[in-house]
Amino acid sequence: MSQAEAVDSVTAELSSQLSLSHTEHVATMKDEGHHNEALDAENVPSELGQKESTFVEKLDEGALPTSSQLPENQETECSELLNLEVKLSELDTGENRENEQIQTTLTSGKGWGSWGKSILTTATSTIGHGITAVKEKAGATLRKQNISSLAEESKEHEINQTVESDDSGDHMPKELPASSPSAGSHGMFSAITSAGKSVISSGLGALEFIGKKTMNVLAENDPGFKKTKILMEKTATLSQMLREAKEKEKERIANQVVMEKTAHFGILFDEYQGLSHLEALEILSNESELKVQSFLMSLEGETLEVMKRDLVAIKEIFLVEQSEKSEDEEKELEETGCDGEEFVNVLTELLFELHVAATPDKLNKARKRAHDWVKEVYSLRSEYNEKQVEENSDPVFEGEKNGKVDQNNAKSVEDIYLSSIESLAEVTARSIEQLHKVAELILHGQDIEKPALDQAQVLNTLTEAMCKEVSSLRKKFIDVLTSAGSKEKAEVLNPWINGVMLEGSNSITYIQDAFQLLLPVLQISHIQITSLRTDTVKYSGGN
């Protein structure tokens, strides 16, 4: 396989996925959205057929020396993609010897013990670096309105993205920045690099423009990218991606000479055991997927068709979530917000509906903590403002006093930023924990009165509620940052706001990805219920 081919296929895959993920966000792109939905619909029926033939295809691909080294990947939904990954890693080892981790991708399995799947991870962390770099450079020039215009500009930057991905094939290998520890040669990454190149070659104006665009592209599309991977390949990747991204972050911190207060979503997310729950959920998901596949292989004729139809019906519910959420809806919900106990009620009710005995205590506490500190900041600030008015002090001293009070009394703007990131990490971790618990309860085979199809529906709503909550929290955090930081310089404040924006979208993506992991769980649950029912029928028939 030539590198160019590999890159092309990556790029093509990526672009299609990116445009897919856009439909979630871009209300203005209805036409495109429909297009994608149509595509989805076409894809669905063939999906299962594809799965069936996976093994056959694998044999055919024996020509590729590396595919035989991946005996565990039998569950691959789409063996092409596996293929793709192999090609990628070939590329990498060829291009960049320093990247030792790539080899693990080939040789080690997908278990916890391995550092495998490095491509993804390094790509992610590279993106992370890219984001940081771009953000730092461009952040200074970015104004607040840029953030609010994110949504409107998403269409534009998609075009941007496509263009960048197209020529990624030519640039990619040479342009790996020296600081980057990896050769994550994905389209996503090349998008950054090529953007980076233009940044250097163009003037400051271009810097601002591209920096802003790239930010948007990353913020919006990084999630899509991750989703792509997780859908493509049901091996334990997301948690490993995150885990390694976190490790990198840690190393970076360890190397920092000056210890400054920093907020690291990945590390905090792990501290709240978000990674562990995600990893465990991935294990369940992969095992369920394997079981579904082998069960389908044992069927034939009409039974197979019926079962396939059922499973596809469940799958369709998982696809709906991808495309139907519009920015408008999100905004509306952000505004109405779930400030009161509404979220709690919704959550409890939905879990009850699922007929699983999982209480949302931890998640509720996490979100309550988040809302509480925001409230506290506001009340402290208004107290402070009142004092200001009462004292009505000499304007010369006001500035001085201002600083003092800010330091002593109210949370500093930086503290607000740090708390925001921590809260996002906590709520996200708890949401994923919740989904993991649900998966465990569904799998443990209690008497489920609710058909898997209905459960899928409820879970979809549940996930949506969680994402909305994160979304509304993000809005709150940005609001409080903005109001508290009104006196800060833009170059200080904007990176914080951008950080919250970015981690907020990442959080939502993680939750949605975790939700996607539930699909095989529900499918196997459906199979178990159905076969149980059939057995019962047979049994009673025998009597």
Binding site: Q69, E100, S108, G109, G113, A280, I283, L443, G445
Partner: protein
């Protein structure tokens, strides 16, 4: 905020297994929080705990998977054994049935983890000596016959809890040092941080030397 020290050289995955109510979650809680949790709810599926310990001057992060003991979760929890570097197999010294079930837990642990996984047998609730139903000696003998480490501990008083986790870690570390545990193996359950050689391939050579360890 993020207060945990970021520098550790290894991550070990542990699993805690054993019958319902033997005190698995309490052991974990005592180990991570240094507190006794009196009213511990039944674990659903699996819960997690982490703590960084030190063995031979090396900082090691333990990532502990505390599995549900309820029979109905057995199918789910079995999925979590894979890739464990250490397993704490817990029984309740005041309930003979929990001891009698050990062979079934041991079978699972042996079948679902790799041959190098260090298994330590823990007789919990050692503070309730008056109600003892399983003698130290017979458990010790069972452990020796099966090549397990063994300790009696109390999640309530904290007695030997620290040691239980540490002894297993020492043994794992020793296995790494003498080369019997291949870090590159996908399921070793150990991650080594600073630029560990990553080029390894999956080695499935069984390394069955599992000496019983008198503690």
């Amino acid at each position: 905020m993020a207060t945990a020290p970021y520098n550790y050289s290894y991550i070990f995955k542990y699993i805690i297994i054993g019958d319902m109510g033997v005190g698995k979650s309490c052991l974990l809680h005592q180990f991570t929080e240094k507190k006794f949790m009196a009213d511990c709810p039944h674990t659903i599926g699996v819960e997690f705990g982490t703590r960084i310990i030190e063995v031979s001057g090396q900082k090691i992060k333990l990532q502990i998977w505390d599995t549900a003991g309820q029979e109905r979760f057995r199918a789910v929890t079995r999925s979590y054994y894979r890739g464990a570097a250490g397993a704490l197999m817990v029984y309740d010294i005041t309930r003979r049935s929990t001891y009698n079930h050990l062979s079934s837990w041991l079978t699972d642990a042996r079948n679902l983890t790799n041959p190098n996984t260090v298994i330590i047998l823990i007789g919990n609730k050692a503070d309730l000596d008056a109600q003892r139903d399983v003698t130290y000696e017979e458990a010790k003998q069972f452990a020796e016959e099966n090549g397990l480490l063994f300790l009696e501990a109390s999640a309530k008083t904290g007695e030997n809890v620290e040691d239980a986790f540490l002894e297993a870690a020492k043994k794992i570390y020793q296995n790494i040092q003498d080369g019997s545990l291949d870090l590159n193996a996908a399921e070793s359950g150990v991650q080594h941080k600073p630029s560990a050689p990553q080029g390894g391939r999956i080695t499935n050579e069984p390394q069955p030397q599992r000496e019983g360890c008198g503690c």
